[in-house]
Amino acid sequence: MLYSEKVMDHFTNPRNMGKMEDADGIGQVGNAKCGDIMKMYIKVKDGVIEDVKFNTFGCGSAIASSSMATEMIKGKPVEEALKLSNQAVVEALDGLPANKIHCSVLAEEAVQAAVEDYYKKQAEK
């Protein structure tokens, strides 16, 4: 198979998929021209990511990477979420094809963008 079982599982049954109306932080990365956009929503309470949602326009591995990333940061302190690396996502997915590694990078960036947005909004408060 093109993808590992883990990837196919997260692709066909994505976790935390959907929008979030009252997000504390929203990050969107990628662009439609390149075929991948990820949008990540986080809800933070006491410095911990209480809830997370994502929306993705992209291929199977983009969707699976988003899904896996949300699972990996849910319940974690925001600082820890910031440290999420794309390698960690790839490993958690039992690997990605070489030409799909950029999807995991996008997931890492989406998390970072959401956290940064959260920080910004906190600062504005």
């Binding site: 692709f11 439609a32 929306n55």
Partner: protein
């Protein structure tokens, strides 16, 4: 339900072709170059296949060279024409923006060697304009190469007109008929073709056999040097079972062409009608002038690979021009040539069907594609932006 709707990628081998191959393995196990009876029997099978293939495209047997497939045929035709042209100082080639990679990548290599290539536009409908072929031809044009039918969007090119122009201008004309052979009528005389490529596995023949038609009198250089097979123009022990299987499949496809074509066109229209009912979808390529079995649509706001994989999970085998399916960053050069922006081209779906597909399957596909498109749009931030008016619809 399991539906194979990717027949442009490769077809399932027909029982006719398989039987012909097995018979050949059994009875014609010799090498056609050998003088003994098993060899001469093999030779008879080979020449019978040549006569049969020639007949289906209006050629003479001596004008047919067997190769390993469409890519090899394309490579040999174009490299040969280019090298022979260069000897006469002709280093210009006319082709189109929507050729298969087996043509385009040869042209790219020739460009690196100093050839100049004019890639003709195919406008919004995916069809090249004969008058543009005409005005692109120059004094130093060594070759015009225009495909018979496109593999992604199925558009039929005006080969007869292009052929007539090339004949008048005395320029060599090659056509990649890999997607056309066995599906639409081909006649190298009527179409004024000098060289034509075809490939067995696109019309329910076996993989590993193709043919190159080269008009009598047109010189041909080898791509593969060695033994004297194929009148010295293509070395290597002939893949006889596959050649014989290809001939049987082509004969059958051509015999059934009218009947199958009508049936498949009807299925295609039903499928297109169903899919275009999905909002913000469009058909790629002219609706009429296309292969009977080709449907290529774009759905705005979603990406093709994920569409494809979810359809596969529902038993539908399809294809996409999405960048993600090719390992490159850009979506299909064919969809871009139609003028589609990248983000829309990413959301393409190609369904290629044949006479073995049923109306029931069509309806199943329409229903499931509708559901999957809806599902993917729901998770797509692009779709969200489109709906909120933060992004303009490309497909109305």
């Amino acid at each position: 339900m399991n539906i194979y709707a990717d027949q442009a990628a490769t077809t399932r081998i027909s029982e006719t072709a398989k039987k012909a191959m097995l018979d050949c393995m059994d009875k014609a196990y010799g090498n056609p170059s050998s003088l003994h009876t098993p060899g001469q029997t093999a030779k008879e099978y080979l020449e019978a296949a040549r006569i049969s293939v020639a007949e289906q495209i209006g050629a003479r047997p001596a004008e047919i060279y067997f190769t390993s497939g469409g890519s090899e045929s394309d490579n040999q035709a174009i490299f040969s024409a280019a090298r022979l042209g260069a000897m006469k100082g002709k280093r210009h080639i006319v082709s189109t923006k929507i050729e298969h990679h087996a043509v385009l990548h040869v042209l790219k290599r020739l460009e690196k060697e100093g050839f100049e290539v004019t890639y003709l536009d195919v406008h919004g409908d995916g069809i090249v304009r004969p008058e543009e072929v005409c005005s692109a031809i120059r004094e130093d044009t060594a070759l015009v190469s225009v495909m018979y039918a496109n593999n992604e969007i199925g558009t039929l090119q005006p080969i007869r007109e292009v052929g007539r122009i090339c004949r008048e201008k005395k320029v060599l004309f090659h056509t990649d008929a890999v997607q056309a052979a066995g599906h639409v009528s081909i006649d190298v005389e009527r179409d004024s073709v000098d060289m034509l490529s075809l490939s067995g596995h696109k019309f329910c023949g076996p993989r590993g056999a193709g043919a190159l038609y080269v008009k009598k009198g047109v010189p041909l250089l080898n791509l593969i040097e060695g033994g004297a097979q194929e009148r010295g123009k293509r070395a290597g022990t002939e893949n006889l079972p596959a050649i014989v299987g290809m001939a049987a499949a082509l004969e059958e496809s051509c015999r059934r062409m009218d009947e199958d074509g009508r049936k498949v066109t009807e299925l295609r229209e039903r499928l297109i009608d169903g899919l275009l009912r999905i909002p913000h979808s469009r058909l790629n390529g002219d609706r009429k002038r296309r292969l009977p079995g080709n449907i290529n649509v774009c759905f705005e706001g979603i990406e093709g690979e994920s569409l494809l994989l979810l359809l596969d999970a529902r038993g539908i085998a399809a294809s996409s021009g999405s960048a993600c399916t090719s390992g490159s960053l850009d979506p299909s050069h064919v969809l871009l040539a139609l003028g589609l922006p990248h983000e829309v081209a990413h959301g393409s779906l190609r369904l290629t069907i044949g006479p073995d597909n049923t109306a029931e399957e069509i309806d199943y596909m329409v229903e499931n594609i509708k559901q999957v498109v809806e599902y993917l749009r729901n998770m797509s931030p692009v779709w969200e932006e489109l709906q909120k008016g933060e992004r303009r619809y490309v497909i109305q």
